[in-house]
Symmetry: C2
Subunit: 312 residues, 2 copies
């Protein structure tokens, strides 16, 4: 049973190392949705995404001995950068197992944040095998990007900060990928909201969380053909029970709806945000008739995009 006090302590712990990101609003998006929307701008977070929160909390929970031996993860996305930067800020080594076909720009970003890259064959089995080898060889602690309670609590601090500014939110929308952000957000809403419901946005193309909630067991994706590249991962045994207990529903959206929502965020709010962030807004727009005149929070998860490969 996770306690409210755990999330409060986590927030105090990581606060000096993260940005308290702003909450922005948009007249035009309020008009389009017929509701009052409050965007928690984690695209302005350090290294450009909420993952900085969970990575920082996970490292800060290690003993001095564990810190001395470093941390390791496998990721080709934001968590690789987040763990690298959080580790560097805290004076800890970070080993990052990346698939050999990861874009050079992502490898450069990890190196820029001080992470030590171990390349491997681009399969999940090989990624895990290489990470296990680092754990064996270096004594480093493995940190999973989403299926780790300390990571989940860290991600939940974004929702906590949002509810501190807007305590009367009726709903919070979050994108669903590996499940860390939405599980953390659900805990924050449960502990700090006043009957605040949590809703996930998920691409039809990778709707494993939607299907998992229906079947009651963790489903996976046969293919992952979505522009929201942060959402291709699947749920885990630590975050899934939290999601089952505290998430109201998941709304699925098409690729066209994601890109249209992303365009709104860029053109109307002037925010550089990832397609994954736009998924939550797309979900609200899709079912807006259910949220008229409500107060809705949306977690804009991050802003790390390749400007040379925009979908519009």
């Amino acid at each position: 049973m996770i306690q409210k006090e755990q999330l409060i302590k986590c927030h105090k712990r990581i606060a000096p190392h993260i940005h308290k990101t702003p909450v922005l609003t948009s007249r035009i998006i309020n008009e389009i949705t017929g509701t009052s929307v409050f965007f928690k701008c984690e695209n302005f977070q350090r290294m450009g995404a909420f993952k900085m929160r969970g990575a920082t909390n996970a490292i800060m929970q290690l003993t001095e001995q564990e810190r001395a031996r470093g941390v390791v993860t496998h990721s080709s996305g934001n968590f690789a950068q987040a763990l690298s930067l959080a580790a560097k800020s805290l004076g800890v080594k970070a080993f990052i197992v990346m698939p050999s076909n990861a874009p050079q720009v992502k490898k450069d970003a990890v190196k820029g944040y001080g992470g030590q890259i171990i390349e491997c064959e681009p399969t999940l089995a090989e990624r895990q095998r290489n990470a296990d080898a680092i754990v064996q060889k270096e004594g480093a602690t493995f940190v999973h990007s989403s299926n780790d309670l300390n990571v989940i609590l860290g991600q939940g601090t974004a929702g906590k900060e949002l509810l501190e500014i807007q305590p009367e939110l009726d709903y919070v929308f979050s994108p669903v990928g590996g499940g860390g952000l939405i599980a953390g957000t659900a805990l924050a809403a449960h502990f700090f909201g006043h009957h605040c419901k949590v809703i996930g946005g998920e691409p039809f193309e990778v709707d494993d969380a939607y299907r998992s909630l229906q079947s009651g067991r963790i489903e996976s994706n046969a293919r992952t053909n979505t522009v929201a590249d942060g959402l291709k991962t699947q749920l885990g045994d630590i975050n899934f029970p939290i999601i089952q207990q505290h998430v109201d529903k998941i709304i699925r959206v098409t690729e066209t709806e994601i890109i249209a929502a992303m365009r709104l965020l860029w053109e109307r709010m002037k925010l550089v945000t990832e397609a994954s962030s736009a998924v939550a807004l797309a979900a609200l727009i899709k079912e807006r008739e259910h949220f008229v005149e409500k107060k809705v929070g949306i977690i804009l998860s991050g802003g790390n995009v390749d400007l040379g490969k925009l979908p519009f």
Copy 2:
């Protein structure tokens, strides 16, 4: 002689109709420049640019009779949209003379904000002739986008707000186009700064303001081949004397430097900003050795860009 009280009154007048835009900072840009930079984010202003301020002030200074007959301007850029939206918000008609070759997206934006478009041949003479005709026929008041004291005072409220948050700025950087923003910023720095100097950023390709300050008379541009499409216009007889008196210097930058600065704003600060906004940052980066350990403000003028035509 323009008085401090005029700028104070202007700000009070327009405050209910504009956004008090946030001031953001970036650790990485501070590292790159070796200085503390405070970005005044007018890309978050209503309709996406500082021009909303001046347009609002100009209309609010009209008599009831003048308001009843509407306003007119010629512009193919942000001021067309700003005057349209400001007029709509204040219940006034806006006639916008636009060159027939203006992009459809800009015409649509003006229409979206309620402006009434009059198309004309794409020459400055034809634009002025058509605007004059509207003045004659409708009795509308002509509002120039930059060479109008009420517009200049309105634009100056961005710098005033910035100095309210950061009163000890040593410098404020502004892009230089038609001269309205930098003249207003210079007045704000003069009235509200503590020895705060104002520096302009200008593309080499349209360096009329740089040359005007050297020659002591208003120069024009033989060609206007710059990515910073908001800066193609030239100074006027109302803003030029203010600029001569209160602007410390103008730093010219290349197209490559503008695009690199724009990329920094997008990739590192996650801000959708126009190339014109990036010109001011590019100027600071170019001569950063002169500003080490100073406190520098930068006016990010706007964020209205065509996402289909990005320079990177």
